[in-house]
Symmetry: C2
Subunit: 558 residues, 2 copies
């Protein structure tokens, strides 16, 4: 059997005009702002008009700790959306937008895979509807206004050594990580050390994804801390009067994007914050809009459930007033084997024992999700080499945990391969058993919130932080930021802060290296280990092979 590549399948897609996709959600053509014939933004007028409608059911797709074997979280999100539509439910999916820069490093960024994809794939990996460019512009306008303010006399008394707002670019460019700017003499300002992050790491990205309206967006932008004075008091974006112009730049980007799956079901693709220094979910406005238009909304969170689902629950749901009705935890036989100690090169051979050894990673995620009061079902994303005995081993293990694992073949078969999961998820969601609650209350002290996550989710013994960090947290509490949730930035490969520690480790500590206040986004970032906010290109960047072929199609991007 010849297996078609993702791009071959995507190119063969019979896309419908985006107006037909909108119509299925009750969004008229006048309420769609088209970008080409297969992409549109949902107009503000429509969003304003549906606020009184009841919400559909919210289903979160998350996963075990990622391994190099690949779990297929987005593929399962897309497949489950298609599966729910197949069994007659009105469902939409909500996923993140891809970042442009990394596509020129490693092969990029398809939205799903096999027969569970979102299209148009090329556009989604390139400029799409321009949202990330708008975020780049808004971020860098603020940066320019800071240096400009200092240049013209610095009435706000910004300490140039304590400017914390860097610049961003949607590009993998290590040369920009650390620069000295404003060289060249009087006309160019005061030299200072600064740098660039990749656009998805911008606090503006996190803000756009958490804002509930344009006015909320502007308020949050205004609350961004851009610098400190000598007396350590913060200078805000609103002090520079930058929030209005930034909002204008983001006006269109705030509208959710609508595209379609290969099976012509609606897909909202909007926002894409980092899953480490930010919360890693698609925008609140996309999710809440989808919930007003569809009976079931399937969405996903970044990385594994220890990071992604935890932040989805504790940050996004808490802040947006959302409550998930069901969680789908994606696992694969291959990933269980890797958690069980098998190297990537040896995954082809059947190894039921290794599967069993790796399953405790899955088991802990199941238990963790249950702590939030949300029912959980495991999706075993089928790979062609999986044996029946291996699959049975996963299913048996999950059953022992009091949950259930359902085999899904959406990658190979599209919605026909995921009907069982769709039926079960609909059943769970319809039953209304979920009793969602965040893991910690708003009024818990910041350090205790960190401990709560570390102990309950990571199962660590203790959180290690020096006095400087504890004092910083205390200062923020004094300044009124104590009610903010925590955004953990640690490795996605392990429950611990050691990426090589697979499975379900215990007895480890969580050392905090640094804390940062994202006052506009509304969370405190806790950094454990090295976090790279500006990637570099590899020795042979994929850009070298990206080009248009004679038919005008894009080669090399996937």
């Amino acid at each position: 059997m010849t297996v078609k590549s993702d791009i071959e399948i995507a190119r063969a897609a019979q896309k419908l005009p985006i107006q037909e996709i909108g119509a299925r959600l009750g969004i008229g053509a006048a309420d769609l702002v088209p970008y080409g014939h297969d992409k549109a933004k949902v107009g503000q007028h429509f969003i304003d008009g549906v606020q009184d409608r009841p919400d559909g059911k919210l289903i979160l797709v998350t996963a075990i700790n990622p391994t190099p074997a690949g779990e297929g979280k987005t593929t399962t999100t897309v497949g489950l959306g298609d599966g729910l539509n197949r069994i007659g439910r009105k469902a939409a999916i909500c996923i993140r937008e891809a970042s442009l820069g990394p596509c020129f490093g490693m092969k990029g960024g398809a939205a799903g895979g096999g027969h569970a994809q979102v299209v148009p794939m090329e556009d989604m990996n390139l400029h799409f509807t321009g949202d990330f460019h708008a975020i780049t512009s808004a971020h860098n306008l603020l940066a320019a206004m800071i240096d400009n303010h200092i240049y013209w006399g610095n009435a706000l008394e910004i300490d140039a050594r304590r400017v914390v707002w860097r610049r961003v670019m949607d590009m993998n460019d290590r040369a920009l990580r650390d620069v000295v700017s404003s060289l060249g003499g009087v006309a160019n300002g005061f030299p200072r050390q600064t740098g660039f992050d990749i656009t998805v790491a911008s606090e503006v990205m996190a803000i756009l994804c958490l804002a509930t309206s344009l006015s909320d967006l502007q308020n949050r932008l205004g609350r961004i801390i851009v610098a400190y004075r000598r007396d350590r008091t913060p200078v805000y974006a609103s002090d520079l009067k930058a929030d209005g112009a930034m909002t204008v730049l983001l006006k269109d980007a705030m509208q959710p994007n609508l595209v379609q799956t290969l099976e012509n079901n609606p897909a909202f693709v909007h926002g894409g914050p980092f899953a480490n220094i930010a919360h890693g979910c698609n925008s609140v406005i996309a999710t809440t809009t989808a919930l007003k238009c569809a009976d079931y909304v399937v969405t996903e969170a970044g990385f594994g459930a220890d990071l992604g689902a935890e932040k989805f629950m504790n940050i996004k749901c808490r802040k947006a007033g959302l409550a998930p009705d069901c969680v789908v935890l994606v696992a694969t036989v291959r990933a269980m084997k890797m958690n069980g100690g098998v190297a990537k090169g040896d995954l082809a051979a059947e190894d039921v024992e290794a599967v069993r050894r790796g399953c405790p990673n899955l088991g802990r995620h199941i238990a963790n999700v249950k702590q939030f009061g949300v029912p959980v079902v495991v999706a075993v994303n089928h790979f062609t080499g999986d044996t029946e005995a291996e699959i049975a081993a996963v299913q048996d293990y999950v059953a022992e945990q009091g949950s259930e694992a359902i085999l899904c073949r959406h990658w190979a078969e599209g919605s026909a391969g995921i009907e069982d999961l769709a039926r079960r998820v609909a059943e769970i969601a319809d039953a209304g058993q979920s009793q969602f609650a965040p893991l910690y209350p708003d009024d818990m002290p910041l350090f205790e919130k960190i401990e709560r996550i570390a102990k309950r989710i990571y199962r660590a013994d203790q959180v290690i932080a020096d006095q400087k960090i504890r004092s910083q947290l205390h200062e923020w509490e004094e300044a009124g930021y104590g009610r903010l949730p925590i955004c953990m930035a640690k490795t996605q490969y392990s429950f611990s802060t050691d990426p090589t520690l697979r499975g379900a480790p215990t007895g480890h500590d969580v050392p905090i290296r640094e804390v940062r206040l994202s006052a506009g986004a509304g969370f405190v970032v806790v950094i454990c280990g090295e976090i790279m906010t500006m990637p570099g290109l590899p020795r042979v960047p994929s850009a070298e092979a990206i080009m248009l072929n004679d038919a005008g199609q894009i080669e090399g991007l996937f």
Copy 2:
């Protein structure tokens, strides 16, 4: 009488769906790629299909040397397009896109003014269809690939001190003019001095505007010189294998944008290269496409005729095989007064003598345009304070030069105010009297080309260049670049290189400070005086007042 502001007039516009505008040019809805309901790109398939059609008539709108009084060149371009449609001719206009960054410095960037505007004004001054963002991405991808190549071993032996490719951002940010990059240690590369230009100054912008097809685009991108080796041999973008990916990033940006005037006539708005270090005209692909769809195409060139029209003729028309049928030279009574020595604050009072004193500036532009073999007519763009005697003084002067000056009231009256000019322009174009030829042949040595422009257009006595510059030009000739046209970068305020020297100076010299090779765009840039390629923000940037009002409209942008 209450005079409405530009933005009030623009907001009151009764826009037609962009598909109706396309239909008037014979472009079907399927051949338009919509961006919202009032903007579209013209699809590549349509462009490919019209290549065998005859061309319409090409009319260039240019102007006297700009003064702080404002000439209204774009306003006249828009008005003339509307006027031609009003008298029953099928006409389209072609103008440049606005740059985002400067809108946050000074009040931006309306497309025309009064009752001669292109809409949607807000979008055109913000992200529009994303073309400039695509150019920024393509430019910076190349920059990242240069540093990445050096980082991974520098097989091409790039001399890091001789990297000539900077980065770009569409932002007025003086802090980025001069930076040291790659600081921070081994992981970030080799520190070197570099900087950022504003996006419109990118050679990628000039290339996009001169390319005739996607394959021509890729070839030109590949020919960009990014650096030199120790032995001074050039390293090209194609050596880094960056041209394919850059082309992919620019694929959509290459398609011309279609919008409409206030009177619902078609307007192509595409590309926006600097008018000093680049050639300052809208894209070749927009102009050639418009010529296949309309019987009359009205376009404009940057700055005054000494820079803009000269480059339009010697660079754009030469390279694209275009030949203008008529030139409209825009002048105002106010600008004549300023050329006659009146200060801006004193323009309100009638001063016929000052008008007469200023007219030689206009007279020289008329004579210059005639050197290209193209008929010229003067448009006197009426301002409310102009007196009959002042207008008569301009008209009498122009008549003495053997040309004619027609009073136009399009700003106040729309197309009804510019019928006389439209009739005369159509008459001239239809008569087919134009015998266009560039000012110098391809095979003239580079320095002689510079002298030709300086002596015939600027009426300078001589060109001054030290041996280093002459040797550089000679080296480029040896390397096969001798047939390229010249792109002069000098002040736009005077025929000379001294911006304070108004009127029609003689006896001056043209000193060359620097020459640069834009091998991808295909011209040699000759720099006379200071050229700023990264603007700064003013003390009170307009960004401070830009915001959404309660109705969701943008305030402060205009």
